[in-house]
């Protein structure tokens, strides 16, 4: 058996895979958080709740409408995005002129509300959600053992992250978003419907969280608390990466997922706090984050 640093290779690659999978969720979620914060200047505390909502909507679509995984993967994020648009239109936008703290408090309250509603309706225990039949196998080689579904999650997350990056950096609507992130008033004075852009951006960010939720459903269970467990880590990821940068959010997500996975191999006791230790160090040395602009 091949060993590296006294650890069997298969164990090592297994943890790297787990790190990549966790990193996939971290990247998807912190990406949405960064896009929303960049334009709206709102720290979206409800991001974990929208992730949970994505998983629950997928489960409900299956349970009540008999919709399969692929259908849910398409429809659930759209429903979550619409929910985000509704929240932005009816409530969040009233807070833009107030101190940023209000946006944070509001989204925090919203997260508690959503979590509470689902706990009330479905209890705290998780709902099982199975991977699609064609992805239930396992790929086994000499160096690595990967359940097909987990491999799919990594690929899907990479595609979505890269697609989002391309949307923001390479398209016309992306140029509106980048410009409005710098000076939304001027962009609106040029005739761009910035209030609509804000709604779309919030909806899009929430939709990304929804996608992450559906992807996560077969791996973790669908439970009302899955979002609040996740959001703490996501905030640490965003603090490490720095709020402003899209690529930074993506890269930091995967990076911290990997670090967390590898810590499990070499020093398992620290695995749960590795990310927070890194966060503390980054805050000490580079308060704006690895990819943030110091000013």
């Amino acid at each position: 058996m091949t060993m590296i640093f006294g650890v069997p290779l298969v164990v090592l690659t297994g943890q790297v895979m787990i790190g990549l999978i966790n990193g996939s969720f971290y990247a998807l979620l912190s990406l949405g958080l960064a896009v929303i914060f960049g334009l709206l200047r709102v720290v979206n505390f409800a991001h974990g709740a929208f992730y949970m909502l994505g998983a629950f909507v997928a489960w409900m679509l299956g349970q009540y409408l008999g919709l399969g995984y692929w259908g849910s993967l398409l429809i659930a994020p759209i429903i979550v995005g619409l929910a985000g648009a509704l929240v932005e239109r009816t409530m969040l936008r009233r807070l833009y002129d107030l101190d940023h703290l209000y946006g944070l408090l509001f989204t925090f309250g919203l997260a508690l509300l959503l979590e509470g509603v689902f706990q009330h309706l479905y209890g705290v225990s998780g709902k099982p959600f199975s991977a699609p039949v064609e992805m239930r196998g396992v790929v086994r080689t000499d160096f690595v053992t990967v359940p097909v579904y987990r491999g799919w999650v990594v690929v899907a997350s990479l595609l979505i992250c890269f697609g989002t990056w391309a949307l923001i950096e390479k398209t016309k609507i992306g140029s509106y978003l980048r410009a409005a992130t710098e000076d939304s008033i001027l962009v609106q004075a040029f005739g761009v419907n910035v209030p609509l852009l804000l709604t779309l951006t919030y909806a899009f960010g929430c939709g990304l969280a929804g996608i992450a939720g559906v992807l996560a459903a077969p791996i973790f269970q669908v439970s009302p608390t899955m979002g609040s467990n996740m959001i703490i880590i996501i905030f640490a990821v965003v603090v490490v990466g720095g709020m402003g940068s899209i690529l930074g959010a993506i890269a930091t997500g995967y990076l911290l997922g990997l670090v967390e996975g590898l810590t499990k191999v070499f020093y398992p006791e620290a695995a749960n706090i590795a990310i927070f230790v890194i966060m503390a160090i980054v805050l000490l040395l580079r308060p704006a984050g690895l990819f943030g602009k110091e000013n």
């Binding site: 140029s175 980048r178 410009a179 008033i185 001027l186 004075a189 040029f190 005739g191 910035v194």
Partner: protein, 247 residues
């Protein structure tokens, strides 16, 4: 006002922009105390005044960036005071801010293409025409907008408004901080705009620059218009002007 001036202005038709009793506030502090001014079609009007008298605030209030306002603002006979900010541009008014507003995260071409077209009236310039007029922008079209020199950024800020087909441009101190050669280039540009039939409301501290281009002048002090005269009356006004501008 003397007669030649009045007939000249009237010969242009009715006011394109008509402002009466415009007052504006930043929160509780009032910055404009009743501004009256007109821009006739195709006219270049210069708004003069010392630092901090409210020239920028006037432009920002006309555009709708400063929201707390009262008075009358009519553009092509339509009241624009209550329009949402993004609807004002679509009536045909373009804004070139004092700090130029070039976006660092957009390259030169993206900066150029950013403002949506507001009209297809033959006044809009195509990308090709802009690049022919400003070869530097073509050369550097993939550099970040803020990597351009100050003069190039000013050209870019004006050029991107020309692309949209607006019929009135609000231009805030385009020559500020630029070398004399570049100031001349911008002067040529403004004359080209005029020949093209565009109206310009030009805020300037550089009076000699404004005097070469404008058809009509307003002088501002402490949030009010204190004087208004045509270019023909300029020679007789020098002294009073120098006093008002504190030159």
């Amino acid at each position: 006002m003397n007669d030649t001036c009045v007939t000249t202005r009237e010969a242009r038709g009715s006011q394109q922009l008509k402002v009466r009793g415009l007052e504006a506030w930043y929160r509780e502090s009032q910055a404009l105390y009743g501004v009256d001014l007109d821009v006739y079609p195709g006219e270049t009007v210069s708004l003069l005044g010392r630092n901090g008298v409210g020239k920028t605030t006037t432009l920002r209030s006309l555009m709708g960036i400063v929201r707390k306002r009262t008075g009358t603002v009519e553009f092509d006979q339509q009241s624009i005071l209550r329009l949402p900010l993004h609807r004002v541009a679509r009536t045909g008014i373009g804004f070139v801010p004092e700090e130029r507003g070039i976006f660092a995260s957009l390259n030169v071409e993206e900066n150029l293409m950013l403002p949506p077209l507001v009209a297809r009236n033959g006044k809009e310039m195509s990308l090709d025409e802009i690049y022919t007029l400003f070869p530097n922008l073509l050369e550097r079209r993939y550099s970040p907008g803020t990597k351009l020199s100050g003069g190039e950024q000013q050209m870019l800020a004006i050029a991107r408004i020309l692309r949209t087909g607006v019929s009135l441009i609000l231009l805030d101190e385009p020559t500020e901080g630029l070398a004399p050669v570049i100031v001349n280039r911008i002067g040529e540009m403004l004359r080209a705009l005029k020949a093209h039939g565009l109206s310009v409301l030009l805020v300037e501290q550089n009076f000699r620059f404004a005097a070469r281009i404008a058809d009509h002048f307003y002088v501002m002090d402490q949030g009010e218009i204190i004087d208004s005269f045509a270019v023909a009356e300029l020679p007789g006004r020098r002294e009073a002007l120098n006093k008002a501008l504190g030159v």
